[in-house]
Symmetry: C2
Subunit: 219 residues, 2 copies
């Protein structure tokens, strides 16, 4: 299972010809694959920051509960993503499984991770956070959803069909909307003809350019 990580298809498309994972894996002892059921917690907000993990399959939500009980999902991580990198000593976010998930502990060959490897991971995490900052700050409901679907679309390149492992609940907390608004935004995109909804957790992208047009800004 790990061997396939050295192939390109295990690394999702990224703009700079970065090689986070490839490099990382040369300095890391591969650990056994662990399986987690849906809604299992990999690590929790408030814990001391611990090891890094590599997602082998399934989807993980990185989320955070506020003092008054609301939830924000900063990202979804899936196959090939590295999990668990955080600034500070205490976890600000939890990592929870959306569906059935397989992850590997990443244990550095020498006692500590190489700063170069951590830096590469930090770069990627930062880029994601900044992108999401723009989504939340500048886009309205259907634009956020369009951006989200485009993101999934290019990650899981499955011939125009997107699989939504997470439920509306999770999408809403990721885009900082309500589930009702997510539902209506989906309908807006459907009515505009850019997507179809063959099933509750499946989306067919009919018109990628049209979807991109919906996002209008992130550029």
């Amino acid at each position: 299972m790990l061997s396939q990580l050295n192939h390109d298809h295990a690394l999702r498309g990224m703009e700079p010809p970065d090689s986070t994972l490839r490099s990382l894996l040369t300095h890391v002892r591969p650990c056994a694959l662990s399986f987690y059921p849906p809604n299992a917690t990999i690590y929790a907000q408030g814990e001391p920051v611990g090891p890094l993990y590599l997602v082998e399959f399934g989807t993980v939500r990185i989320c955070r509960l506020t003092a008054d009980g609301r939830r924000q999902i900063s990202a979804f991580q899936s196959k090939g993503d590295v999990l668990g990198f955080e600034p500070g000593h205490e976890r600000e976010y939890s990592a929870e499984c959306v569906d059935r998930v397989g992850i590997r502990l990443l244990r550095p060959a020498s006692g500590r991770f190489l700063d170069a490897d951590l830096l590469a991971i930090a770069h990627r995490t930062l880029a994601e956070a900044q992108r999401h900052m723009t989504v939340l700050g500048l886009m309205r409901a259907s634009e956020r959803l369009a951006a989200f679907l485009l993101d999934l679309h290019e990650r899981q390149d499955a011939g125009g069909f997107i699989d939504l492992p997470m439920q509306r609940n999770d999408i809403a907390d990721h885009l900082c909307l309500t589930i009702e608004t997510v539902s209506r935004a989906l309908r807006t995109l459907k009515d505009a003809g850019v997507i179809r909804l063959p099933g509750v957790s499946q989306i067919e992208v009919m018109d990628v350019a049209g979807l991109q047009h919906f996002t209008r800004s992130v550029a």
Copy 2:
């Protein structure tokens, strides 16, 4: 001028006993201080990513223009902050001077920066981005403003008086609101008695706990 950077007061309060700057400065050749007038551009969106800078005085806005002409300010940087760290090869953000600004180029003693130093800067930048993600995602107008003021308050510890070097325009684009809404949110906080407004660019914090209560969530 640079010597004072080795003193604590040049480093603003941070949660983990991090020592970004102290460590950084031991591996860096101090360069001459440059002065920029208000609205000058230090670097621009679209340029290749270049060197790092250290802010000595003044305030810099890190901002980004979208394809359709809107602007988002991801952060304001002031004395002691390091400027110019970005993932990727091309700048996603510009750095522009809010007021009169003094910065120093940070040039590594050896050819490249130490990964450890870059990692420390990345940590801080990421923490800021994540915090702002929460502000934009979970808070409404007066809560965002309260969070913003609290941030300024603890940076520039000047006995309850906050100086606002940037104009409403900039605050609005940072909090992703309109200037009118910023104005009304200020009024809300004033009417609640947690701040006073002695002048347009000066704020007196009357009740820190009250301000924190306004943010209610970020925890």
